[in-house]
């Protein structure tokens, strides 16, 4: 059964929210009362519940199957964390209540902040950024502020070809010119290539480590030292922190700023696209420029520094957002950290790396590895060479996975590899689950090799929808529902609006 839009079934005179009656006093709206009601149909609770339950059933989710998206870290989201975030003492407090009434909340933020500092080996952290890209922006702003503070107007940011799109977008947003660094044949960054680019106008380099090819940048310390020697800063994209959690501290690699996706490494749920949280750890050199606000712990309890005049010796560059960051995500991340502990977090990283390598080793005979059959970190990158001559594309291959009950892996990213397929299993999959996934991919790879192109070109067949026409969507954008135009003599539905 197809599920209609609420605008097609809801009625303007229906509401699913009863409110109490009360005596009315004259309004004081200064003549600005709304003149026409919005076209917002209502559904009663039975209708709304069914509508959204049925819509939900059209989604794939980590709770329904392995979600092998590289660079996205779709791991299990513990239910305790959801429960904790809903405690009234966390979920039902206002960001501008007196600090005396939110001491536990400030302590929670402090707890997470301290944990991130220990895990990264960095001296400071800015908690307010609302997602990874926001964290990147925050980190790069801190770099810009630090450069300014020393009167240094640098204009270039170096970004490897394999970087996430957010990296160049962030740099550009701040007015930097982006210069690309090509990848070495082995998929990592060549320190010599970096050094060659390190002119005096380079403000920073933005590196992802482990990188988006699933490899640890083995020359990262040399790169960091060269960057620092050139007076530039080292921004690290922390999207892949899951691979090294508890095993490697970015602070020991010479990182100056790195955002941490709490919705990846620390397992706050993705929610179909958000919300996330992107705290940024900062080096000694950048710590003083961290944005407002932050939590401080003192003898009389916790306090919030919300304004520059209370910032002590620091020089906050400004404010990233209203209020204090993604509290709801902090609670979940705290629960995850406490549940795993130092031992469990290290084990999680190891299991994630182990799982990716297990997939690599189990598929290397059938699928092609662009950088050879060598250990990867928590994600393994294949290219489409093994599909050469089969008539099957990376896209076809990925869509065929849907028919086997799996979400596709990340495709065509990173851009440095032709027809990339980036697979990240995470630590939450059992060996049985990995084995079934491997068997499925082997079966598909062999089917492609055998020339069973029908199985690929037409996929998916067993999903709520066949392949969707994305070109049409972009060429003739329909971005909202509109009442259909009147047809013939009958008045159109809702035409009265």
């Amino acid at each position: 059964i197809e599920e209609p839009l609420i605008f097609e079934t809801g009625r303007l005179d229906v509401t699913g929210v009863d409110l109490y009656a009360q005596e009315e006093t004259p309004a004081r709206l200064g003549g600005l009362r709304r003149r026409t009601a919005p076209h917002l149909p209502g559904l009663t609770e039975p209708e709304a519940v069914r509508h959204y339950v049925r819509l939900s059933q059209k989604n794939y989710a980590i709770d329904t199957g392995l979600y092998p998206l590289g660079s996205c870290t779709m791991k299990h989201n513990p239910r305790l964390n959801e429960k904790m975030a809903r405690l009234p003492g966390f979920g039902d407090i206002h960001p501008l209540q007196p600090v005396s009434t939110v001491q536990g909340a400030l302590e929670l933020i402090h707890l997470v902040a301290e944990g991130l500092k220990v895990l990264t080996g960095m001296p400071a952290v800015a908690m307010s950024p609302k997602a990874g890209a926001h964290g990147e922006l925050c980190g790069m702003m801190a770099i810009k502020a630090a450069l300014r503070a020393r009167g240094d107007a640098r204009s270039v940011v170096l970004v490897p070809e394999s970087a996430h799109g957010t990296n160049p977008a962030t740099a550009a947003l701040l007015g930097y010119r982006v210069e690309s660094i090509p990848a070495r044949a082995d998929g990592t960054v060549d320190p010599e290539a970096v050094k060659a680019k390190l002119a005096p106008d380079v403000a920073a380099i933005m590196l992802t480590n482990p990188n988006t090819c699933g490899l640890f940048e083995r020359d990262i310390i040399e790169i960091a030292e060269a960057v620092h020697a050139a007076g530039a800063f080292f921004y690290c994209d922390g999207a892949n922190f899951n691979a090294i959690l508890g095993r490697v501290r970015p602070g020991d690699l010479g990182v100056d700023a790195m955002h941490i996706n709490l919705h990846k490494t620390f397992s706050t749920p993705h929610g179909g696209g958000g919300p996330g949280a992107g705290p940024v750890v900062l080096s000694e050199a950048l710590a003083a420029f961290a944005p407002l606000p932050w939590v401080v712990s003192g003898p009389e309890g916790f306090d919030l520094v919300e304004n520059a005049d209370k910032a002590g010796g620091a020089h906050p560059f400004g404010r990233m957002t209203a209020f204090h960051g993604q509290m709801g995500m902090f609670v979940r991340a705290a629960a995850w950290m406490l549940s795993h502990g130092a031992d469990g977090m290290r084990q999680a990283a190891e299991d994630a790396v182990l799982a990716a390598n297990y997939i690599r080793a189990s598929l290397s005979d059938l699928m092609s590895l662009p950088f050879g059959d060598r250990p990867c970190m928590h994600e393994v990158l294949f290219d489409d060479e093994f599909l050469d001559g089969t008539g099957v594309t990376t896209l076809d291959f990925a869509k065929a996975m849907i028919d086997e009950g799996y979400h596709p892996m990340t495709m065509y990213f990173p851009l440095v590899v032709h027809g990339a397929m980036l697979i990240e299993p995470t630590e939450s999959e059992s060996k049985a689950s990995l084995d079934l996934f491997i068997a499925t991919l082997r079966d598909l790879a062999m089917a492609a090799r055998r020339g069973e192109t029908d199985r690929f070109a037409g996929a998916p067949r067993f999903a709520p929808r066949r392949r969707l026409d994305e070109t049409r969507a972009a060429r003739q954008p329909v971005l909202r529902w509109s009442a259909p135009a009147p047809v013939g003599p009958e008045p159109a539905r809702d035409a009265a609006e």
């Binding site: 917002l40 305790l80 179909g272 958000g274 977090m345 972009a474």
Partner: protein, 447 residues
């Protein structure tokens, strides 16, 4: 460990398959200088029961809004969210799914986004809306950047009564990007001369209504003047419920409407996660930041939804993107959509009406306290009072009496001479008893 399915036997078998002797071999590329052999200096793993106890203790040290007479607003509002909303957003298929880049297996999320975009457009009186931003403040920052792109000018004029946190976000972004921003001083009572600041160098005017002091602003004259000079009007709101009762910015000529959607479907959460709403005209859509969901058809001709116009986005356009935003507020947008669907136009109007009525009642009661003045003439559910003493001390004193009475203006505007003002919000959650308790406590505090 309860979240890690691999057993020691599994690990051994997997290492054997990989052909290495230990997990350390897989970390061979890590420089020795950064090689850690021991766990970091954090406590060891805890049982679920222990974690729950520890976090519940922290939560217990906060005063939950539901437990006291509660009148705090200034950018975040406590409304009653139907129980079904939280139930539905916890559905595994919504909660634990990724961004819907694979539309064939993400039609649930995508259809929700299409409904969300339509609802936001209807509410704001605009033509199109995106699939959410982080929150109202960052949406405002993005709106200014978008106005710069559209007008190819780089100067924004910002009303003095824009929420100071929003102002700070805009200022920071502008300053970091090398743009100019002219901010007027706050005006708790009376009008500011924003019209006088608009000239042909201005890309946009940023105006909030209800403003941070609760005043309703007629934006039509500002839109007119801005358009006459080739500038855009960016209308901002922090209380989305107000749109149920007051004229929407789209009807007053706004070109971009941004605001905080938390008030519908989402709790206070100590400031986040919230959901930024972002709506504009159809013709501006290709300069819009953020994700967009569009309607299309599948290979069998059936209606379906996809993320679209992604050539605006960073993952396709990289440094040429309209914004660097990636993860947004999907689940908060879902909560918004469900709550909005339950309300419908009729429920929303009634909700807004009750909010306004409760604010009017409270304003009259507080205004009758000796020494206390209500500053606003026209307001929605929030207003400003002037008290004889320091507002921040009064708020602390009220808290000790078990009343969370609002936000001292000086917390938002330190050092700007607004030390006697309290921003007071009233919503449908307030009862007669709550209001009476506030009056009694305030009388004691200022008496």
């Amino acid at each position: 460990m309860r979240y890690l399915p691999l057993t020691e036997a599994d690990r051994a078998a997997m290492l054997a398959k990989i052909g290495v002797s230990s997990i350390d071999d897989l970390f061979a590329d890590v420089p020795r200088a950064a090689w850690r052999t021991d766990p970091v200096d954090l406590p060891k793993a805890k049982s679920e029961m222990e974690v729950e106890r520890l976090l519940a203790r922290l939560a217990g040290r906060n005063v939950a809004a539901a437990s006291v007479p509660f009148f705090v607003g200034a950018g975040a509002y406590r409304h009653h969210v139907p129980a079904s909303v939280d139930h539905l957003i916890q559905r595994s298929e919504f909660l634990t799914s990724y961004t819907p880049y694979q539309p064939e297996v993400s039609q649930g999320t995508l259809q929700v986004l299409f409904e969300f975009q339509t609802q936001v457009a209807e509410l704001t009186g605009m033509e199109v809306a995106n699939a959410s931003m982080y929150d109202g403040s960052t949406a405002t920052g993005e709106a200014v950047l978008m106005a710069h792109r559209l007008t190819r000018r780089e100067k924004a004029v910002v009303a003095g009564n824009l929420h100071p946190h929003y102002r700070a976000v805009v200022e920071n972004l502008a300053e970091m990007a090398g743009h100019e921003v002219e901010v007027l001083p706050p005006v708790p009572v009376g009008a500011e001369d924003i019209l006088g600041r608009i000239d042909d160098t201005v890309s946009c005017v940023v105006v909030q209504s209800p403003d941070v002091f609760g005043n309703l602003v007629d934006m039509a004259p500002i839109a007119e003047k801005a358009h006459a000079h080739g500038a855009l009007l960016i209308a901002v709101f922090t209380e989305v419920v107000s749109l149920g009762l007051i004229e929407p910015p789209g009807a007053m000529g706004a070109d971009i409407v941004v605001g905080e959607g938390q008030g519908i479907g989402n709790g206070l959460n100590f400031g986040g996660p919230y959901v930024g709403l972002f709506a504009t005209r159809q013709k501006f859509v290709r300069q819009m930041p953020g994700r967009l969901c569009g309607q299309t058809v599948d290979a069998e001709g059936r209606r379906g939804f996809v993320l679209t116009l992604s050539t605006r986005e960073q993952h396709i356009r990289r440094e040429k993107a309209t914004s660097n935003i990636c993860t947004n507020s999907g689940l908060c947008a879902l909560a918004f959509t469900i709550h909005m669907t339950l309300l419908g136009a009729r429920g929303l109007e009634r909700l807004a009406e009750i909010n306004h009525q409760n604010a009017v009642k409270l304003a009259d009661m507080l205004g009758a306290v000796p020494g206390v003045d209500v500053l606003n003439t026209a307001f929605f559910n929030e207003f400003t009072i002037r008290i004889p003493g320091k507002a921040h001390e009064a708020i602390e004193a009220l808290a000790r009496k078990g009343v969370l009475g609002g936000v001292p203006a000086s917390r938002l505007y330190p050092g700007e001479g607004l030390d006697n003002l309290i921003l007071v919000a009233a919503t449908e959650i307030n009862t007669d008893d709550d209001r009476a308790a506030y009056v009694t406590a305030l009388e004691e505090v200022v008496g």
